[in-house]
Symmetry: C2
Subunit: 190 residues, 2 copies
């Protein structure tokens, strides 16, 4: 098939959706983030890339701490709401039941199946965004989201984002073992 060139503003499919939390003006604030990834293995670090105009950014710079919270499908409207309104004009501190781990300035969301508290270790300044890299100092879940001691995506029931069509996606089926099923291709090679 022939390839066609599309606009350079392209994306990966799909993007995980999280709520990033920070203390801003002494109040918990949360924003919806799809540009998030683990960036270091040991020690565990995670990066979130936020447009520079966001209200959240000032709080992360000031406190050198933020949180990454993985919401389930039951929170999808609240998550989207957090992406629609800015903390500059709307108090988002009462939307969720907030708790804290070791860091007292990284607000975590009790309703989220998985919460990570992060100490800011580096900021990467880019043209329109700032990439905040944090070390995960604590991760919190509930027994009901675990299978064999590990978080289970089918129990977390998260949702994802696609851009530029701006759609959320949920569900899905197991498709096989990573670092495993490639052996079938390997074995099939001449």
């Amino acid at each position: 098939m022939d390839k066609v060139k599309i606009e350079n503003n392209a994306f990966v499919y799909p993007m995980p959706m999280v709520l990033a939390g920070a203390m801003v003006d002494n109040k918990p604030n949360f924003m919806a983030v799809g540009w998030v990834s683990r960036v270091n293995f040991t020690p565990p670090m995670i990066g979130i890339s936020l447009g520079k105009a966001h209200y959240t950014n000032g709080g992360i710079h000031q406190n050198r701490a933020f949180s990454v919270n993985v919401p389930g499908m039951d929170l999808i409207e609240k998550v989207d709401y957090c992406g629609l309104v800015t903390g500059k004009t709307t108090d988002k501190s009462q939307i969720f039941d907030v708790f804290y781990g070791e860091l007292k300035n990284a607000p975590l969301i009790r309703e989220c199946p998985l919460c990570m508290e992060c100490q800011l270790v580096q900021t990467v300044d880019m043209p329109s965004n700032t990439l905040f890299i944090g070390q995960i100092l604590g991760a919190y879940t509930e027994e009901r989201f675990l299978t064999g001691g590990k978080p289970d995506i089918l129990k977390i029931n998260p949702f994802t984002l696609t851009m530029p069509d701006n759609q959320y996606w949920a569900g899905g089926r197991n498709a096989g073992k990573a670092w495993g099923m490639g052996k079938n291709f390997k074995d099939a090679k001449p």
Copy 2:
């Protein structure tokens, strides 16, 4: 429900799976990557975080270019294979039909529904990983993967990764409009 603390080596759910491409020792090489995210909006930039020991890294440093290719489910065994074997000892240049865009040192995979060629703009050195940030100079797909001129996840049919259980996931259903459905929560507020 009571939260329980789990190990700090926690992840987002799920992670998009891509094949990162680079020229290494004058040959195309590809590796499976789940730690990938857009990191800048304008100009469009994408980041991939690779363990420092990977064979691919040297090629990206040397050529200042790499590619990000989004595979469909039909490629899952080949993708996993690329994650199982290193280019140090296994020639992966013949697994895919390779093509090039503007950059002649960012190998793209014709079998992948979406391919992005990236010029390296920054590297972030971390304890165990290097984050490579590239500007997307070209994005390529096929008409059959587009709906309304935009890539359609249902046509791309990608898969995702979860860690630390190391499983792939595919499929899923539309869950609503991003930057839209939050209005329901907003309107319901007292």
